[in-house]
Amino acid sequence: MSLQYPGLIVVVPLLSALVISIAGWVNKRWCFPIAVAGLSVAAYSSVGLLFRVLDEGVIVYKLGGWDPPMGIAYYVDHLNGLVLAVVSVVALLNAIASKNSIEQEFPERIGPFYTLYVLMVTGLLGIVVTGDAFNLYVLLEIAALTGYGLIAMGGGRGPLSALNYLYMGTIGACFYLLGIGYLYIMTGSLNMVDIARILPDLYQSKAVMAAFIICMVGVWLKMAFFPLHAWLPNAYTFAPSASSSLIAPLVTKVMIYVMIRLILTIFTPEFSFNILAVSKPIVWLSVIAIFMGAILALSERNLKKMLTFIIIAEVGYMVGGAWLGNRVGMTGAILHIANDALMTLCVFLAVGNIVYKVKGAEFENLQGLFRKMPFTMGAFVIGAMSMIGVPPTCGFFSKWYLISGAIQAGQYGFMVALLFSSLVNVVLFFRVFEICYYEPFSDHHGHGDHHPEPIDEAPVTMLVPLFIVAAILVLVGLYTGDIVNHIVEFAIPKGLV
């Protein structure tokens, strides 16, 4: 069966989404178990796949039995093996953790909600695993369309921000499609490896350069890289907690994976870093992104919105790290994809627990929460420490690699930006801790009056996944050396030094 793991990763969630949508019309209680079962199989096979990749190297899976340039094939190497494992584990943990909040926020729409949820995970996993440039576009649209639906469930300003996200997301996806079209007209192929094989003769072509730029801009739009970030904060803030804790950790990270895949596999580092001399300006853009994200986060009085601006800064980290053009920076960027997905999940799950009990994430609602919800806040502290970059949590190590990469490349601006952003994160999170710890809980603020039952700890089903994530954060931090030596080292082509 392990030969079929690459197929199972995408197919099992897809089938379970379809079964959920049918089961939702029969009995709503079946949706959650089916979703968890489907996601567990995906998580199990992706972790199994990662270990197989560690043993055997690149795995090729031909869909329909056709040989790659004709048909579509999956290429699983160390890079997407790692990302696959992270995506499927994050999706599974979040599905378990958000069960209560889904039942609380929209009890009557559980069926379609889980359908879209699992479909979105299918799309994200497919984006990561596929080796065909056009197939990636189709999966991109699946992840995007389901994302619009999940975000717009939030009510209030949800639909408007989802509509803005839709405009921007569609432009981004179309740009990507256009770039692939340019590659296709020049090479005649759609398979990533095959394109990379043909391209070296065409490196001087204007069309290939344009293809690269258009693809990059499209991907940046999707990941909310600095000048193109306007849609992200509202979309993530007004989404219901169950959706935002899925979308926030995964969508931007998967898009960064796509960018790294474009740089490393399709266009090879030789072309991206040496022939096109655009690394410097892009790193400076990411410096601005980090500064803007940090400063805008400072001005927010809503915990969830503050976190969305931190995401923008984190996107800056990874884009900058990938474009430093050296091995250490790329290692940092790839490591940070995994770490950032996990720590964003941790803080968003904690916020989800708070919203579940307090019904709001404004700062004035958070007073005295350390006494009311000690376990949730404990996990939140670990997540926050990781975001700041305190050892032994994993955030420290990827930041370490990013900073050493910046020094090696002579990009001191990027180093300063990273340090500045870490300092701002210290300020941001300690301000939250202060409110939650020192200020007494009062019923006069926020929505405290509307629910007479006292605020207490979130249910166990929400706490256990949160603790698992927090534990993973520390574990990944402790085993960073192994991950870098056994996985990330092989994910970067030898040519990049």
């Binding site: 056009f134 189709v138 649209e141 369309l145 619009y148 639906g149 717009a152 209030g156 300003r157 639909p159 408007l160 989802a162 509509l163 839709l166 405009y167 569609t170 432009i171 179309c174 499609l177 256009l178 079209g181 296709y184 007209i185 759609l190």
Partner: protein
């Protein structure tokens, strides 16, 4: 002069697709009305489809359906006689994606209208500011 006209005519399809794409992109960014933006979005997507179909066109070739499919069987098929089928396949998929996006976009626009009773972006923004 002759050269320029030659180039323009030889790649007329490409120029038109670029024009349409610019129109669509401009409408998506600059138009104030949400439904107009959706129209722009569709024009944008169709322009890209036009680009791909133009890649598939081949001079002197017929549609990509084999003649005498089940009859002779001994007829040798020459690739030069048939248009390139691959872009057509890709664009079938892209059209479907376009209509799916359109459906979701219209549903969202209706939800927005439900709340703000207008489709004009500036009026919606001023309502949000008053909240």
């Amino acid at each position: 002069m002759g050269d320029i006209i030659q180039t323009i005519v030889a790649k007329y399809n490409f120029w038109i697709y670029i024009t349409l794409m610019m129109i669509g992109l401009y409408a998506m960014i600059a138009k104030n009305n949400l439904v107009k933006k959706i129209v722009g979005m569709n024009i944008f997507q169709t322009a890209i489809i036009l680009f791909y179909v133009s890649i598939g066109a081949k001079r002197g070739a017929t549609i990509p359906i084999l003649e005498h499919g089940h009859g002779g069987g001994h007829n040798v098929v020459h690739a030069i006689d048939y248009a390139n089928p691959l872009p057509h396949v890709l664009m079938l998929t892209a059209i479907v994606v376009a209509v799916a996006t359109l459906g979701v976009a219209l549903a969202l626009a209706i939800r927005v209208y439900d709340r703000y009773s207008t489709l004009e972006e500036d009026e919606i923004l001023s309502q949000i500011r008053e909240e």
